[in-house]
């Protein structure tokens, strides 16, 4: 056995075994997985909201344009993923938003 006392050891489970070990910063900072909600329209790239074409409560068909998210000098059309209704709009024109930002909720 090592005589040195090691700091910062935690229990770490791999399959059914638990090991005493240290964690890395990267491991501790990893983001927990969340199942995607198809009713949330998230930004797939960071950028600026240029135009919003729809209003809350509006009924739309699949493929109709919801808004334009400008990123890397490209005007990206954000389209309705399926037939439905706009439940809530969380962005306005001119907003600069990060990746995976909730832009529009639909139902």
């Amino acid at each position: 056995m090592t005589k040195k006392k090691v700091e910062g050891l935690v229990d770490f489970a791999i399959l059914s075994m638990k090991y005493k070990t240290k964690l890395t910063k990267k491991f501790e900072n990893r983001t927990a997985y969340e199942a995607p909600n198809p009713n949330n329209v998230l930004s797939y790239i960071p950028g600026t909201v240029r135009e919003v074409f729809v209003k809350e409560g509006q009924e739309l068909k699949e493929g109709e344009s919801l808004m334009i998210l400008e990123a890397m000098k490209m005007r990206n059309q954000i389209a309705m993923p399926f037939d439905g209704k706009v439940k809530a709009i969380h962005v306005k024109e001119g907003d600069r938003i990060p990746k995976r930002h909730l832009m529009i909720e639909i139902e």
């Binding site: 090592t2 090691v6 770490f12 791999i14 059914s16 075994m17 090991y19 910063k25 990267k26 950028g47």
Partner: protein
């Protein structure tokens, strides 16, 4: 002019150009805690060994008033010299001259010394300290970068390529270091990124400091771009010099042999390892107990610390070590540690350095983030690198060798030349608990006291399978050894394999899972 006058004229010209960007710019450089390009070269190379080339090169840019500017040496110093007597080619960008910006002639000087290094089959060291492309030279600057990258690629696996980041190295410029074998960074001085904080903020609205975005620590700890991290330029130069002692000049040579020395470690090697496979220890202590003079030169110490890589010597000969580190994340393989190990294995193979693998790992890291980050693709690199390598390959299984990890860590099945296992080795498809739960599911479920039955079955499994003898009975392990015999057997293995010949099918190149 008399001869004497010619000589005096030469001296005057040299003196002028050697001042680089002049006293004011040098003052600024020093105020940033940085040395000048010339002093860096002199500090790194053996005394009086530096011979400069292309001192009098001048740029040819004519647009934007550049024709009126004189840029000494066009912002880069190139030449040859020695480190501990080993010849090397070197270039150092001079930030005091137009911010070390890269124009056509600047790039020509760099490619010239790279070509020279490749032809002479000696290592190349590049000291990067540059604001980036010289905008006034437009596409000529881009051409320059491209020509450097092309040469980095041609030289890869032929001569050692070392990049030292001692200032900014931004935009396209970062790809030259990224293509080279070893990248050195210094705290508070090195900055590497593709797009700087300014652009990131204006395009994406994300605020971040230069240091947090691409400082030395980030690349040493988070991205894995850097291999060596130092607190000062002098410490960095010492690291480079030490590295040079461990590696050969080119892929047709062997690393220099040093007089053999016994390890400084004087205890019992078996005392370093807890017998309970769940308890951690620092595998570097085991390496130090094995290598000459207990001198282990670790690479990428701060990144993906769950695997340890680096150089040591056995009987005076350089050996590359790859070891699972039970102290960090229990020594699992994950995306980063696979990447780290695979590249090192390929380096050793390219440069005729035998590989010793010390194995103690519970398997791959479970998790959505790992699966989605491509642990399949990254993990495959380890299999590829070990299988492809034709240098002597030795494995010592210290404790756990479970599942896919057992296969990946230079198993017999991937072409290991020598497979040793300590009596503490557990070579099995998974840990005893997991295996017992699956194999004896029915018995455990039907038992009155499920926990007692499970414990009994786990014991049974341990007894039968959690040992090295099942694998040894099949010849997958050559020899179950006492820990105290490890060094002697490794010395033996390296000696026996001194003339190893192993060939791969003729091909242009493989298609590894990059």
């Amino acid at each position: 002019m008399s001869l004497k006058k010619h000589i005096l004229d030469l001296r005057k010209r040299k003196e002028q150009v050697e001042k680089g960007g002049g006293d004011k710019a040098i003052e600024k450089q020093v105020a940033r805690g940085k040395q000048t390009a010339r002093n860096r070269i002199l500090a790194l190379l053996d005394k009086d060994s530096f011979t400069e080339y292309d001192l009098f090169v001048e740029h040819e840019a004519r647009d934007f008033g550049m024709d009126k500017k004189q840029l000494h040496g066009d912002g880069v110093i190139i030449g040859t010299g020695t480190i501990y007597g080993a010849p090397i080619c070197i270039y150092a960008q001079d930030f005091t001259v137009e911010g070390g910006s890269l124009g056509l002639m600047h790039a020509r000087k760099i490619t010239k010394i790279m070509d020279h290094a490749l032809k002479m089959r000696v290592p190349i060291v590049g000291i990067n300290d540059s604001g980036g492309a010289r905008i006034q030279e437009g596409v000529n600057a881009l051409a320059g970068y491209g020509e450097i990258f092309y040469r980095n690629t041609m030289a890869s696996g032929v001569i050692p390529q070392i990049s030292v980041i001692l200032g900014p190295c931004a935009g396209g410029a970062v790809y030259s270091p990224a293509l080279t074998d070893f990248v050195f960074v210094v705290d508070n001085i090195s900055k590497m990124f593709i797009t700087g904080p300014g652009v990131i903020e204006s395009v994406l609205g994300e605020k971040i400091s230069m240091e947090d975005l691409g400082g030395a620590r980030v690349h040493a700890e988070t991205t894995g771009n850097a291999h060596f991290f130092a607190d000062s330029e002098l410490e960095c130069f010492d690291q480079i010099k030490k590295l040079i002692t461990f590696i050969p000049w080119s892929n047709t040579k062997r690393a220099k042999t040093f007089p053999p020395k016994p390890p400084k470690f004087k205890g019992n090697i078996e005392d370093l390892i807890p017998s309970d496979p769940r308890q951690p220890y620092d595998v570097r202590d085991v390496i130090k107990a094995i290598v000459d003079d207990s001198d282990f030169f670790e690479i990428q110490e701060l990144w993906a610390a769950n695997i340890v890589i680096g150089f040591g010597r056995l009987n005076g000969e350089t050996v590359g070590f790859v070891a699972n580190q039970p102290l960090v994340l229990a020594g699992v393989l994950d995306c980063d540690s696979s990447d780290k190990a695979a590249r090192f294995i390929r380096y050793c193979d390219a440069f005729n350095i035998p590989i010793v693998t010390l194995e103690d790992m519970p398997g791959y890291l479970p998790g959505v983030d790992q699966e989605h980050a491509g642990v399949i693709r990254h993990g495959a690199k380890v299999l590829y690198a070990y299988s492809e390598a034709t240098v002597p390959k030795v494995t010592v299984i210290l404790r756990k060798a479970y599942g896919g990890g057992y296969i990946a860590m230079n198993s017999r099945h991937l072409g290991a030349d020598f497979m040793f296992a300590w009596p503490t080795a557990e070579i099995a498809v998974m840990g005893p608990e997991g295996a017992a739960n699956i194999i004896f599911r029915k018995e455990i479920e039907e038992a009155e006291d499920k926990d007692a039955m499970r414990a009994q079955k786990v014991e049974e499994y341990k007894e039968k399978f959690a040992n090295p003898f099942v694998a040894a009975a099949k010849g997958y392990i050559d020899s179950v050894i006492e820990p105290s015999e490890t060094r002697d057997l490794l010395l033996h293995a390296i000696e026996v394999s001194a003339h190893k010949e192993d060939h791969r099918p003729a091909k242009k190149h493989g298609v590894p899972p990059f």
